[in-house]
């Protein structure tokens, strides 16, 4: 019982539930199933970006290029559509390959050139911005990819397709992190790269995998965002940089690496979306709303986020 109460993921989930219940009583529309479902849909995008971010952070890095990769994938999809590709599957695979490739390049810079992850991914984001100027506004193709459109709007059995995708990917990421050798190596690398290296963990390969996964997840998230918004635009990924980091940390993953779980990022993402929704319906000046938002995050963090004592 005590151990359970010390578990950050569980505490974060409890906090989310409490916020939902309280807000649901305060405003009837807030707690309705369609609204909860909508918040989960929004959270699924943050959650996917957060999945990659979690892996990278656990492996001792950080990915500041997630926003740019999300945008890149939304902008690249229309460019990759051909008439013979009626299902849109090739375009989807192409986008996922592209975003994974960007992640791998991050990994190469970090593992081979030993560039600090923050610098490498920040530089990558800058680099992609340049690329986006070239790509944006160049084509006049609307979203006509059936798969992505379906992902963004279908609700089979009253349950959104994007949430289902999120659930499936969450399962995969959790298994990857906690039940595969590669996942264990992410933890080892993040906890102590030197010890991991001397113990035979292939640091380069492991780093490469972490950033590749992050790129892939950003690609998926981009497709979801594209499907939900009906079209991509430059800047569509911007909100996901801070949101993904916040979700990871709110979920109890140590920003210093080596400790954490995607199980915490999941409620972390939902929590962020929930607070944002709450703040939107509050009638206040924009400044006051920001103050409220920050205070809420801080307050909820106090409930779930304490770190161990030194003595």
């Amino acid at each position: 019982m005590k151990a359970l109460l010390r578990s950050r993921p569980l505490l974060t989930t409890l906090v989310v539930l409490v916020v939902w219940i309280v807000a649901g009583f305060a405003s009837p529309g807030f707690g309705s199933w369609p609204h909860l479902r909508y918040m989960l849909e929004l959270a699924s995008v943050i959650g996917l970006v957060g999945a990659g971010q979690t892996v990278v952070v656990i492996a001792g890095g950080i990915d500041l290029s997630v926003a740019a990769i999300v945008t890149l994938s939304t902008i690249a999809l229309p460019l990759l559509s051909w008439s013979f590709d009626t299902t849109g599957a090739i375009a989807v695979l192409g986008v996922l390959a592209l975003s994974t490739l960007v992640g791998l390049v991050n990994g190469i810079g970090i593992a081979w050139l030993r560039v600090h992850p923050m610098i490498m991914t920040l530089a990558m984001a800058t680099f992609l911005q340049g690329l986006l100027i070239l790509m944006a506004g160049g084509s006049a193709v609307t979203l006509d990819n059936p798969i992505v459109a379906w992902l963004g709007s279908a609700r089979p059995f009253g349950f959104s397709a994007c949430i289902m995708l999120w659930i499936v990917m969450s399962g995969l990421v959790l298994v990857l992190l906690h039940a595969t050798p590669l996942g264990a190596r992410f933890f080892a690398l993040g906890a102590n790269p030197l010890a991991a290296r001397l113990s035979g963990v292939n640091i380069r390969a492991t780093t490469l995998c972490a950033y590749g996964i992050s790129g892939l997840m950003c690609g998926l998230a981009g497709l979801l965002a594209l499907g939900m918004n009906g079209q991509g635009y430059v800047g569509i990924g911007d909100p996901y940089l801070l949101a993904s980091i916040a979700a990871v940390v709110l979920g109890g993953t140590s920003i210093l690496g080596g400790r954490g779980t995607y199980g915490g990022t999941l409620p972390g993402a939902v929590l962020l979306v929930t607070i944002t929704a709450l703040i939107t319906v509050v009638n206040a000046s924009p400044g006051l709303r920001d103050v409220l938002f920050g205070t809420l995050v801080l307050g909820l963090l106090l409930l779930s986020g304490r770190e161990a004592k030194r003595r």
Binding site: G109, R114, V115, M118, A123, V249, G294
Partner: protein, 315 residues
């Protein structure tokens, strides 16, 4: 005669930065060659003015990162500083207004530091929440750009004469050097790299962290004050881009993410690189696309250089 211990230590800490210094120097030379006016009084003044606020926030970020923290509230604090200066200066005069600006930074910094150190919450998320609170306050104080800064202050800080600004920068660097040579300054490094060792050695780890946050907050609002002076007015969102830029400058300058590693001169060199790069790219006539791509490449190369060189020199 052997240099004294202090200088030996200082000299040693320069070594890892040599490649970065090299890149910065190279860019400065290119800039001076493309724009000889740089060496005039006004040219130097304008360039220093471009660099100064980033230099300040880089220092602010570096102090925190040395103690193992990080701040995502740098941008909001800059905005707060600018807004406080621009709204109070008319009514209270420049001295009181400046004191208010510094006090605002000290207080908000110390408060964040207390939350991080005493409540044991991760700095990154505390300062993320803090950035909303502080940014919100700035918006409440001044919802739309406006306010004013006394013209003499603008003229002194951001006119055609670099003396005051350079003097201020030198003063800050000397202040930092002095602080770092005090027991409290060394404690920053110890608390950042190995808090348990620091605690066992009798260092007040929590107080050290809170002091770092307070100093950092003050440097940020000081940067805000300068930006207000430079622009003659206040803008509640002027600081936004400083957050990421400060982190980039500091990490470029070799300050480690895990605390206890790095130097202020590195952070300053990093910020100088980011600043001079923009001007060089302008004078080379690069279009925006090329600017972005070149910027990405320069940054990566500046950081990868030690490794690339090291591989050449390794046996």
């Amino acid at each position: 005669m052997m240099p004294s211990l202090y200088w030996q230590i200082q000299w040693r800490r320069n070594r890892r930065l040599t490649p970065l210094y090299g890149v910065v120097l190279l860019l400065l030379v290119v800039y001076g060659w493309l724009f000889p006016g740089l060496f005039s009084r006004a040219g130097l003044a304008h360039f220093t003015q471009s660099w100064f606020p980033l230099a300040l926030v880089a220092m602010a970020q570096a102090i925190l990162m040395l103690t193992g923290g990080i701040s995502l509230a740098v941008g909001s604090l800059v905005s707060l500083g600018a807004v406080v200066a621009a709204t109070t200066m008319g009514a209270t005069g420049s001295l009181v207004s400046m004191l208010l600006v510094l006090a605002a930074g000290l207080a908000t910094g110390a408060a964040s530091g207390a939350i991080v150190a005493l409540l044991r919450l991760p700095a990154i998320i505390v300062t993320l929440a803090g950035s909303f609170i502080i940014g919100g306050l700035a918006l409440i104080i001044l919802p739309r750009p406006g306010g004013m800064i006394l013209p003499w202050l603008s003229a002194v800080l951001a006119g055609n004469n670099p003396t005051v600004l350079l003097g201020l920068l030198i003063l800050l660097v000397l202040g930092w050097k002095f602080y770092l040579a005090t027991p409290g300054g060394i404690a920053l490094y110890a608390a950042g790299e190995n808090p348990v060792a620091a605690y066992r050695s009798g260092i007040a780890v929590e107080a050290t962290v809170i002091a770092a946050f307070a100093i950092s907050g003050m440097l940020c609002t000081l940067a805000g004050l300068f930006v207000a002076a430079q622009t003659g007015s206040g803008d509640p969102v002027i600081g936004t881009t400083f957050t990421l830029n400060s982190i980039a400058a500091v990490v470029l300058g070799g300050v480690g993410f895990l605390g206890g590693e790095g130097t202020m001169r590195g952070a300053l060199a990093g910020s100088l690189l980011l600043t001079v790069m923009i001007n060089v790219m302008f004078f080379l006539g690069m279009p925006p696309v090329a600017q972005y791509i070149a910027q990405g490449i320069i940054i990566v190369v500046a950081v990868a250089l030690p490794h690339l060189l090291g591989r050449r020199l390794a046996p």
